[in-house]
Assembly symmetry: C2
Homo-oligomer: 135 residues x 2
DNA sequence: GTTGACCTTATAGTAACTATATGGTTTTTA
DNA sequence: TAAAAACCATATAGTTACTATAAGGTCAAC
């Protein structure tokens, strides 16, 4: 199949497919005489795997590692499990950081209401406030 | 004060200060005869404002808008309030997206334990599973 | 007079695409 | 059959908010 068909099948942009090839995530396919790429079902599977990883927010580097594990199927899978643990840790860190951010923002938002002039805006005042308090 | 002093004062890299100037967030300071930038306390305040906005995860574009509001202090501040509402909305969206992601990842992690071979890794199997189920 | 700290500009790299420009090929349609 | 539409190719630049590097000018101290 050609790149457009593959793109529709897996629901990825053709540019992205070429990009993955360039990044070494998708093996370079054979070419027709005119230079067009020709993909196999293996390629489609691999591409779908990449996409599912991306939906899980795994980075291309992490996906690359997973692929290298897959290429050596008799290793213990502890590295895969550890990679996922790390990734979960990162996601959780992001969540807690964003939650603390949300608190700050909501509190800031509470310091103003409509009908004021910019000069008296509680939000701008809140941001401008120095956190260093002189004695 | 020169750029290095300002950088230490506000705890920002000198490169970042020049970058903000280039992006139009920090007004171009006067120069000494030798070309060195000379900053005033106004600059320091403005830079600190930018940094506090960045800590709140506001984008440079959002900061730019806030600055433009500040430059016209007799407008109603509703635009400021709306900007913050939007930002809070974005942060909340990110949080819920990450929480749903975390759930998926934790469930995936539960499908494997150590001591398996890559071939039998529940995580890789879970990612490889096609979501389309034939009847 | 040279070391070191400081300053200058310009350029490239980061992540993961996305968009654009330019041109060749194939298929459809008038 | 010829033109239009759809498809393919490569190369390059843009996105965000910096960070790093290169190559060089300026200034104080030793
Ligand atoms: Zn990760
Ligand atoms: Zn307000
Ligand atoms: Zn925002
Ligand atoms: Zn496993």
């Amino acid at each position: 199949m050609r790149i457009g068909q593959l793109a529709r099948l897996v629901d990825v942009d053709t540019q992205t497919i070429r990009f993955y090839e360039q990044q070494g995530l998708l093996p370079p396919p054979d070419r027709q005489e005119n230079g067009y790429r020709v993909y196999t079902d293996k390629h489609a599977e691999r591409l779908a795997f990449i996409r599912r990883c991306r939906i899980l927010n795994l980075s291309l580097a992490e996906i690359h590692k997973l692929q290298s594990y897959q290429d050596d199927p008799h290793q213990p899978c502890s590295a895969v499990n550890a990679l996922l643990d790390d990734h979960i840790y990162h996601v959780r860190s992001q969540i807690t950081a964003l939650q603390s951010l949300e608190k700050q923002l909501v509190s800031l938002r509470g310091s103003c209401n409509d009908g004021r002039e910019v000069e008296a805006c509680g939000i701008l005042a809140g941001i401008s406030e120095r956190s260093t308090k002189a004695p």
